[in-house]
Amino acid sequence: MDPVRPDAQEALIRSLVERARGGDQAAFRELVVLHQDRAYGLALRITRSSADAEEVAQDAFVRAWLALARFRGESSFATWLHRIVARRALDRLSELKARRGREVEVEEAESLPDPLLAAPRAAPGDFAAATRGRRLERLVMRLPAAQRMAVTLYYYEDRSVEQAAAILEMPENTVKTHLARARAALRAAWQKEGL
């Protein structure tokens, strides 16, 4: 995606949403292109599986397309979309937990194969940053689900605590608590691994 000023980007997205609401699939395609990385990243960090994340994110986009007529613009399109992604990912996680009888343990997360963690988008030649990003992704994946979701929305999706609370349907103080615990855990792991 080309760098675009934030206000111009917002105006573009509003225009695309209006066209898509009228049934313009080409406009919706542009919306998918603009939001797919973040939607997929959110789903990946919740489900911790690339296959599940892809299915969840695709399903969320289709649901968004079907529900566009009811999108009243009270929040941004991204916030609305991410709420759908988060709900679908949580439902998927719930299905998996029910199937396995228990949550994926930390040890399992540590043994996730590399392809499950997408390669960091670092500048060419910035190998150290890429490696660090990859290892940090791994640390984030090891967090409990609620902390992982709070970190994903707050840091990776640039959501405020208030927005994250709205997406996760949690009180703001609960999100703050999850973020504080996640920071403590990540910092400890960061220092331990010497990143």
Binding site: R29, Q36, D37, R63, A67, L93, R121, A145, A180, Q191
Partner: protein, 185 residues
Amino acid sequence: MDCERFERWLNEGMGVAVGAEWHAHATSCAHCGAALAAARALDAALGQPAVEAPADFTERVMERVARARVARLLAWIEPEVLPWWVRAAAEPATALSLALAALVLWQYPLLARFAAAAFQALASPAVATFMHQLAAPRFALDLSALSDPFVFTGLVLAGLPFAWWAGLAVYHWSGDSQALRAARR
């Protein structure tokens, strides 16, 4: 200033402006100094987007969008959007009940004859046996009305709304997200 307060400040995201007291503590305490450096590096690294959707993601979504005309109809019965009576009317069980009721009203004489014949052939022996079992004094219930095919058909029709309601309740109960409730805790 103590290490515990300093760590709490780090955990809360270092949101408050850093005063001289905090700097002094981070300088004098090696543990907190390292923690501060790690927290700053972590903050910077966490801000970097690191995940890309698969290469054919857009095309796959658009293929599914193109196939979603049927799903568009289903989206109308999503729980949070429409009033309960609209959702109830859109339930398949309601549509089936209404269709059945319309059929009964439309072809009542024909269906009544058919019901009477079917009842005579199938249900009467079963009801008779059942009533014979209940004929003991302690169960002196008069269920003879059930042998009337019109009463029998009416009871079946009256039971349909209850079956619909029970089905809807089970459907919504089973659709609740356990993971979301766990996350809220």
